[in-house]
């Protein structure tokens, strides 16, 4: 099992951070224009659609605890060598710490290439998320 873990502290509330992670209009502002399609119920399909790519990733909601925890199964759909590695497991953990929220992203996969790719992507995406929540401006512009 290969694992990537990223922890960041954001000046926000669990409710706002939860919205930011799950509302498509918000997500696409900090995530390269990527749009999530999901109703956030356990067992529901999850999709990530990227501009110029179309369906980029897909999976299923495995666990939901609003404002606390979200677990998705997650497979890349547009790069054959990544898709071949099958489903990974991605977890968001939200934990309030005074006036900040500790966000932990844990991404686990049997595949090595997939984890290497997301290890490069998450720091950018999560840095952009933190900027958007704290300053109103993301780091990343939609591609």
């Amino acid at each position: 099992m290969n694992r990537f873990v990223y922890v960041t502290y954001i000046r926000t509330t669990p409710a706002k951070l939860w919205q930011a992670l799950t509302q498509p209009q918000f997500t696409e502002r900090y995530w390269f224009g990527a749009r999530q399609e999901c109703d956030w119920k356990v067992g529901s399909p999850w999709k990530l659609v990227m501009p110029n790519v179309g369906l980029a990733d897909s999976g299923e909601v495995l666990e939901v605890e609003p404002e606390k925890k979200l677990v998705l199964s997650w497979r890349n759909e547009f790069m054959p060598e990544l898709k071949a590695e099958g489903f990974s497991r991605m977890t968001y953990d939200l934990e309030p710490h005074g006036e900040t929220v500790k966000l932990t992203v844990t991404h686990e996969s049997d595949g090595e290439v997939f984890i290497e790719k997301v290890s490069g992507g998450w720091p950018k995406i999560l840095s952009s998320l933190k900027s958007l929540l704290e300053t109103g401006e993301p780091l990343l512009r939609p591609a």
Partner: protein
């Protein structure tokens, strides 16, 4: 150099590398994102010191590389934990890569002594707090609300 780090911590900050470097190397400002600790970087060959809010020494080392605003590397020996007193120093490197209007800050830990293994998780969390706080300070002009590290103190 292809030396493999023991741990890597990355954050992207909306500021030029020089601005990030200035915040990183200003001892007074460091207290606002380093849970009240201060770090001070000398010139190459000079001292690196971390002091606690009460003035006690936390860690010490030597500056190995100082190339503003791109690269800093120090030896780092934790001195405040009794069990680590005789442990050899590890090394920490800060690399700043400016990409357009954004700077990627990469902190890498090298040569972590085996005695430090029980503290690895606490160290990762500590670096997350430091880098999150540095980013908030640079981007918003005010410190992040104080967050204390978890784990062994």
């Amino acid at each position: 150099m292809t030396e493999k780090p023991d741990a890597v911590h990355i954050i992207h900050i909306a500021a030029p590398a020089q601005t990030v470097w200035d915040a990183l190397t200003d001892a007074d400002r460091s207290a606002s994102y380093f849970f009240g600790n201060r770090w001070e970087f000398g010139e190459v060959g000079g001292d690196f010191r971390v002091t606690k809010p009460d003035g006690d020494l936390d860690s010490e080392g030597k500056v190995l590389v100082r190339e503003a605003p791109r690269l800093m590397r120090v030896t780092w020996k934790v001195v405040w934990i009794e069990e680590l007193k005789d442990t050899p120093p590890g090394e920490v490197e800060w690399r700043l890569d400016q990409m357009g209007e954004i700077t990627r800050l990469t902190v890498s830990e090298f040569r972590r002594p085996p005695q430090m293994a029980p503290y690895a998780e606490a160290a990762r969390n500590g670096w997350s707090i430091i880098l999150s706080g540095l980013k908030t300070l640079v981007e918003t002009g005010r410190p992040m609300p104080k967050t204390l590290p978890e784990g062994p103190q």
